[in-house]
C-alpha cells in the first residue's frame, strides 16, 4: 500500500498524503497546500488522460501525472 502514488488514484477516490519522492518538486506542492497528512480527492482527469485535478486544502488543484507520481499516498477510500 505504501508505494502507491497520487497519479494512480481513480476519480472519486480519496487518500491521505504520505510523503514525496522528489524533494524539489515537493517544495512547490507543499506551498500549494499538499501537506503530509492532508486529505486529497482525485476529482477529475483531463479528457486526454493528463493532467489531473485534485481537491486539497479546500480548493481545486491541477497537476500533471508526472508531478502527481512524486506524491506518495496511503489509506485509499471512496469519497463520501
Amino acid at each position: 500500500m505504501s508505494h502507491l502514488n497520487l497519479s494512480q488514484l481513480k476519480p472519486g477516490q480519496v487518500a491521505i498524503i504520505d510523503s514525496f519522492t522528489d524533494p524539489v518538486m515537493s517544495l512547490k506542492l507543499l506551498e500549494m497546500g499538499c501537506i503530509p497528512g492532508e486529505r486529497v480527492e482525485l476529482v477529475k482527469v483531463a479528457p486526454m488522460g493528463d493532467p489531473i485535478a485534485i481537491s486539497v486544502s479546500g480548493y481545486l488543484l491541477s497537476l500533471r501525472k508526472a508531478e502527481a507520481s512524486t506524491v506518495l499516498i496511503h489509506t485509499i477510500m471512496a469519497a463520501v
Partner: protein
C-alpha cells in the same frame, strides 16, 4: 544613519505600499479600485514583468492631503520561495531592503474561500517583522457556502489588521485607506519556531543587516535571488550555509509543514464551517466544461466566437479608422502648402499613425475576450484540457488562444501571451505565432491564387481557389507547430516547467476589470509599439518616395510635353523604379532570383514590410494600374507580364506558389516585430524571429519554385 522604524514615516514622504497575494486572489481588481486610472505601467529592471504603480493622496475632512501613498502591484506568488521569474520579482521587492520598491507597508490580498493556502504567504510576511495588513476577499462567497470567519479573532491570532474587502464592489477600499493614514503596528506572532543558532544569526547579520530571525533564514535560502548582493556577499553566505550544514530544501520542507500546522490551528479557532456537504457550483460547471466531448465542443465554440469577433466584427471600426485617416490626409494635402514637409506629414507620419491606430479594435476585442475568460476562471480549464496536446510541441495549454488569434493578427495575439507564466513556453508561443496566416496575408493570397488558378477550376466538387486558400492557412498552422517543436529542443528553460496550477472557482466576470485590461493593453500598444511602427513607416516612405540625384526630375521632364494616356500612372511607376526602394529591389534581385522573383517583386517585398497587404498596392503602382482596388486589372497586367529574356510568363504557377509560401513564412511585418520587442524587452528576440522566419521562407520558396518549375 538611523533607520526609520517600520510603518512609521516622516510626514511629507511618500508611503510605499506593496500589494501581494496568491494568483486569483483578486489583487489586481483591488489595485484598480484603489488607484483608478491613476496608474502607470513601467517595468522591473532586467525582466519583462510589467510593473504597475499608482499614486493616491489621502485627505482629511478638510480635504488637505495628509499622506501620499504609492501602491505597487506585485506579481502573484504563493510563498516567499520564488519558483518563476514573476515570483522572483515579488520576492526581491518584499525581502531586499535595498530594492528601490522595498515597501513600508505590505498589503496581502487573500481569497477567503481558500484561506488555508492563502495564509501561508501571509504568515511568512508577518515573520519578516514588517507592517502587514490582511485584505480578505470574497468573504461574501464564503458566507453563502456556510462558512463564518471571526474577523476579530483572526486579527488577534495573526497580530495584524484584517480588512474585509469585496474588491468587486469597492468594499473595504476606504477602510484600507483609513488604516494606511495611520501607523501600522508590527506583529510579533510566530508560526514557525525554528530559530537559527545565535552564532549563525550573528554570522548572517555580519554579512547582511537582517531585521529578524526569519529574515536570516530567508537570506540563507534565497541569497541567489537578491540582485543587490554582490558576488562576494553571495560567496560568503554560501560558505556560511556550508559551514553550518544548512540544507535549504529540507529547511523549506520543514517550514512548510510546521507553518501549515500552525495555520490549521489559526483557521480552527477563527473559521466556523456550518455546512460542508454540497456539490459546489464550480464542480457542476466543470463537469460540462472539461467533458471529453462537450468540453472541446464548447472550447471550439469559444474560439469560433473570438475569431469571428477579431476577424469580422473588428473590420467595421478598422474601416472607420482607415477612412478617418484617409479623410485627414486628403484634407491635409489639399490645405497644406505643397512641399517636402507636408509630404512627410501626410505619407510618412499620418500613414504610420493610421497603421498603428488601425490595430486598436482588434486589440480591444481580443483582450475583452481574454479578460472575461481569465476572470471567469475558464482560461485555467482551457489549459487543463489542452495541456497534453500542446505540451508535445513545447507549448502550453494557454498557447491555443494566441495561436488562434494569430489568424486575425499577430499583434494582439503576441500581446496575449502574457497569460503563459512559463518563460520558455511563452517565448516559443511568441516566436511561432506570426507563422499563422494573418488577415493581412489574405489579399496577397487572393491575388496570387487568382493569377495561377482559373476561377472555374474544380477539384472534386470544390472550388480549387478556395481549396488552395485553405491549404495556405493549414500550411501556416503546421509550420507554427513544427517550429515550436524544433524550438522545444533549442531554447533553454530558465525555470522548471510546472503545471501545478489552481483551477479557480467560477465567477461572474467583473466588467471594470475587462475595461481596465482593454485600456491598459491599448495604451501599452499605442505608446510602446506605436513609436517603432511610426518610425519604420517614415523610413519606408522615404525609401519609396525619394531617389538619388535628379532622377525624379528627369522623369517629370520626360513626360512634360507627352500626350500619352495615363501619364500620372506611368510617372508613378517609373518613379517607383527609380526610387531607393526600387534600387533596393534591384539590389536584392540576385538573391531572390533563385526563388523565381524579379526586381519588381523585390520592390514589393521591401514595401510589404509596412504591412503585407501593401504587396497589392505596390503591384498596382509598378504595373501602373490606376485603381488599386481593382484587383482584376492588376491581375491582367501581371498575367501578361513576360520575362524579357525567355519570353515566358513571369507569374507562372511556380512563381505564384513560391511567392505565397514566402508571404506565409517570412517576417514581413514591422508591427509584429515592434510588439515582440515590447513584450520581450530585448531586440534579440525580434531579430531571431526575423532571421529564422526569413530562412524558413527562403528555403521553402526555393524548394516550391523548383518543384513546380
Amino acid at each position: 544613519m538611523e533607520k526609520p522604524e517600520p510603518g512609521k514615516r516622516e510626514s511629507g514622504k511618500v508611503l510605499k505600499v506593496a500589494l501581494v497575494g496568491n494568483p486569483n486572489s483578486g489583487k489586481s481588481t483591488l489595485f484598480n479600485a484603489l488607484t483608478g486610472l491613476n496608474q502607470r505601467t513601467g517595468n522591473f529592471p532586467g525582466v519583462t514583468v510589467d510593473k504597475k504603480t499608482g499614486l493616491v493622496k489621502i485627505r482629511n475632512e478638510r480635504n488637505a492631503v495628509i499622506r501620499e501613498i504609492e501602491f505597487i502591484d506585485l506579481p502573484g506568488t504563493y510563498s516567499l520561495y520564488p519558483k518563476s521569474l514573476d515570483e522572483k520579482v515579488s520576492y526581491e521587492v518584499l525581502c531586499d531592503s535595498n530594492n528601490e520598491d522595498y515597501p513600508d507597508v505590505t498589503v496581502v490580498v487573500a481569497d477567503a474561500s481558500n484561506i488555508k493556502r492563502n495564509l501561508f504567504l501571509v504568515t511568512q510576511l508577518i515573520e519578516l517583522r514588517r507592517p502587514v495588513i490582511l485584505m480578505l476577499n470574497m468573504v461574501d462567497v464564503m458566507e453563502k457556502q456556510g462558512v463564518r470567519i471571526n474577523r476579530e479573532r483572526l486579527s488577534a491570532l495573526l497580530g495584524v489588521p484584517v480588512v474585509y474587502s469585496n474588491a468587486r464592489e469597492k468594499k473595504g477600499v476606504s477602510e484600507l485607506k483609513d488604516l494606511l493614514a495611520s501607523d501600522i503596528p508590527v506583529s510579533d506572532e510566530k508560526f514557525f519556531h525554528e530559530e537559527p543558532s545565535p552564532a549563525l544569526y550573528e554570522a548572517v547579520r555580519k554579512i547582511v543587516p537582517v531585521e529578524s530571525a526569519y529574515a536570516a533564514w530567508q537570506v540563507l535560502c534565497n541569497y541567489d535571488h537578491f540582485a543587490s548582493f554582490n558576488p562576494g556577499v553571495k560567496q560568503r553566505l554560501k560558505a556560511l550555509a556550508a559551514e553550518y550544514g544548512f540544507d535549504e530544501t529540507s529547511f523549506q520542507a520543514r517550514e512548510s509543514v510546521e507553518r501549515f500546522g500552525e495555520i490549521s490551528t489559526v483557521v480552527d479557532k477563527s473559521v466556523e464551517t456550518l455546512d460542508l456537504d454540497h456539490e459546489s457550483r464550480t464542480h457542476k460547471i466543470d463537469r460540462v466544461l472539461t467533458h471529453p466531448f462537450w468540453g472541446y465542443l464548447i472550447f471550439l465554440a469559444v474560439l469560433f466566437t473570438l475569431f469571428q469577433a477579431i476577424f469580422f466584427l473588428a473590420a467595421y471600426p478598422m474601416g472607420w479608422i482607415e477612412s478617418f485617416f484617409v479623410g485627414i490626409s486628403h484634407w491635409s494635402s489639399d490645405h497644406l502648402p505643397k512641399g517636402e514637409l507636408s509630404a512627410l506629414l501626410v505619407n510618412g507620419i499620418l500613414a504610420g499613425l493610421s497603421g498603428v491606430v488601425v490595430f486598436v479594435p482588434q486589440i480591444a476585442l481580443l483582450f475583452a475576450f481574454i479578460a472575461i475568460l481569465e476572470d471567469t476562471g475558464y482560461m485555467a480549464r482551457v489549459s487543463f484540457i489542452m495541456d497534453k496536446l500542446m505540451r508535445k510541441f513545447g507549448l502550453n495549454g494557454k498557447s491555443v488562444i494566441p495561436l488562434i488569434s494569430g489568424v486575425a493578427c499577430a499583434v494582439p495575439a503576441i500581446m496575449s501571451t502574457r497569460t503563459i507564466s512559463n518563460w520558455k513556453e511563452r517565448m516559443i508561443t511568441i516566436l511561432v505565432t506570426p507563422l499563422m496566416s494573418c488577415s493581412a496575408r489574405l489579399p496577397v493570397y487572393t491575388l496570387l491564387i487568382s493569377l495561377i488558378v482559373p476561377s472555374d477550376k474544380k477539384f472534386l466538387f470544390f472550388n480549387m481557389q478556395g481549396l488552395i486558400l485553405m491549404i495556405m492557412y493549414l500550411i501556416g498552422f503546421m509550420a507554427a507547430l513544427f517550429s515550436a517543436w524544433i524550438m522545444k529542443f533549442i531554447l533553454k528553460a530558465r525555470e522548471k516547467s510546472y503545471f501545478i496550477m489552481e483551477l479557480p472557482v467560477y465567477r461572474v466576470p467583473k466588467w471594470s476589470t475587462v475595461l481596465y485590461t482593454i485600456y491598459e493593453k491599448v495604451k501599452v500598444f499605442l505608446f510602446d509599439a506605436g513609436k517603432v511602427i511610426v518610425a519604420i513607416s517614415v523610413i519606408l516612405w522615404v525609401l519609396s518616395s525619394h531617389a538619388p540625384g535628379k532622377r525624379f526630375e528627369e522623369i517629370d521632364k520626360k513626360y512634360e510635353n507627352s500626350k500619352a494616356d495615363n501619364i500620372e500612372m506611368r510617372k508613378a511607376s517609373e518613379k517607383m523604379e527609380a526610387s531607393y526602394a526600387g534600387i533596393l529591389g534591384k539590389t536584392i534581385e540576385p538573391v531572390i532570383r533563385p526563388l523565381g522573383y524579379d526586381w519588381k517583386i523585390g520592390i514589393a517585398l521591401v514595401t510589404s514590410f509596412a504591412a503585407r497587404e501593401v504587396f497589392v498596392g505596390t503591384m498596382a503602382t509598378i504595373y501602373s494600374v490606376g485603381d488599386q482596388e481593382n484587383t482584376r486589372s492588376i491581375r491582367e497586367k501581371m498575367l501578361s507580364e513576360k520575362n524579357p529574356e525567355t519570353g515566358e510568363r513571369v507569374y507562372s504557377v511556380a512563381v505564384g506558389f513560391s511567392l505565397m509560401i514566402f508571404y506565409a513564412f517570412a517576417m514581413q511585418c514591422m508591427s509584429t516585430l515592434a510588439v515582440v520587442y515590447r513584450e520581450t524587452k530585448n531586440w534579440k528576440w525580434p531579430f531571431i524571429q526575423f532571421l529564422y522566419m526569413g530562412i524558413l521562407a527562403y528555403v521553402c520558396s526555393f524548394a516550391v519554385y523548383h518543384l513546380f518549375k
